[in-house]
Symmetry: C2
Subunit: 228 residues, 2 copies
């Protein structure tokens, strides 16, 4: 069913595209050897006189008579034109001779045809399909992120400074507190001695102090001790 075209060369096996089976038949056919045939080595084929070939041979196998369409198909299947080095204008006044080749199109190696794959259609792979507009959008985003990072960086620096100043103030306040505590202790010490003196003198007076009040919040900030 997948074997259209009356090539009739007994091409079985794998699913070989119609173009390849037709091409094989075309090259093999001795009747058309004056226009299309294997090269002597069997690794390529020649087309002579494109004008006659396209008008007399192509229509028998394809739905057209254009050499360009034939070449397009060859390229689509990975065939490459064989380029010849200039022969310095020898005897032959240049015969109309075009040669094509494909690593899996070899005379006598019919089974290799299965390895010739048609190039995938041009439906883009989506991956690289980026318009200039989309690229600009990405670059714009990057620019925005750059700006945001600079903003954040300066904010971090400001916070760092604020933090350092706070640590200094905390240290200062703690020191101040310790100093005051010393003062308080000395005062109390002094008072005690004074009271003792006064007691000797018979003086009695109530002392309204709240010495324990200021040390009750100490636990709140213990986890802040600098460790860095």
């Amino acid at each position: 069913m997948e074997h259209p075209g009356g090539g009739g060369a007994g091409l079985g096996g794998g699913n070989v595209p119609a173009f390849l089976t037709k091409l094989w038949t075309l090259v093999e056919d001795p009747d058309t050897d004056t226009l299309i045939c294997w090269s002597p080595s069997g690794t390529s084929f020649h087309v002579f006189d494109q004008g006659r070939f396209s008008k007399e041979v192509l229509p028998k196998f394809f739905k057209h008579n254009n050499m360009a369409s034939f070449i397009r198909q060859l390229n689509m299947y990975g065939f490459r034109k064989v380029v010849h080095i200039e022969q310095g204008g020898l005897l032959k006044p240049e015969r109309d001779d075009t040669e094509f080749q494909h690593p899996f199109f070899i005379k006598g190696q019919e089974y290799l045809l299965e390895n010739i794959k048609r190039k995938v259609s041009a439906v883009r792979q989506e991956e690289v399909k980026l318009s200039a507009d989309e690229v600009n959008k990405i670059l714009n985003d990057v620019q925005l992120m750059k700006g945001k990072q600079e903003t954040i960086d300066s904010r971090i620096i400001a916070m760092k400074h604020e933090n350092e100043a706070l640590w200094r103030e905390v240290a200062s306040l703690r020191q101040k507190h310790a100093q005051q505590q010393k003062v308080v202790n000395k005062l109390i010490q002094f008072l005690v001695s004074l009271v003792q003196t006064n007691r000797i003198l018979g003086v009695k007076r109530k002392i309204p102090l709240m010495l324990n009040d200021s040390s009750s919040r100490k636990k709140n900030v213990q986890h802040l001790d600098k460790t860095t």
Copy 2:
């Protein structure tokens, strides 16, 4: 000097590319009318029998005898093939007839040739020339920046918390300091009254206090007052 090819049709004026002057000459030349000539309306031209045309006419004007190269040049200059609707297989068994047209290629309007411009070479505009590899590199950079920003964000949050705790400790310490100051004041007040009492009793003693010492650093942290 910029006028090669013996067109000789008296093409003066602007800098018309050689291909266009040659093409004009070719189409005008009555000797080649059986192979290439104006259409009856003069808005396009026909090529008959590509085989003979490419082998007999092209070499006389160009450095090749390939129809494909001729068509490539036509397309390069913006010519378009004129596609004909199928004539339902009338009398003519299809003559080898190809027609091309360009809005500025009009019979008798030679001066219009200057308006036909060769399409710019395929040297990419650099802007959209991005390989998948380069795109991936950019996307990778964006990803890295994203990660960096997340790191910074969490660091900012940590610093913010630390800062808030510090502000709380500063407030606490200030309050503690104020409390202590009250204590100290009360102690001093008490002492003063006590001393006065003692003076009455004839007691004399030197008081070794350093009350001014703890308030001398106050200016260091004045700029930290919270304003938010």
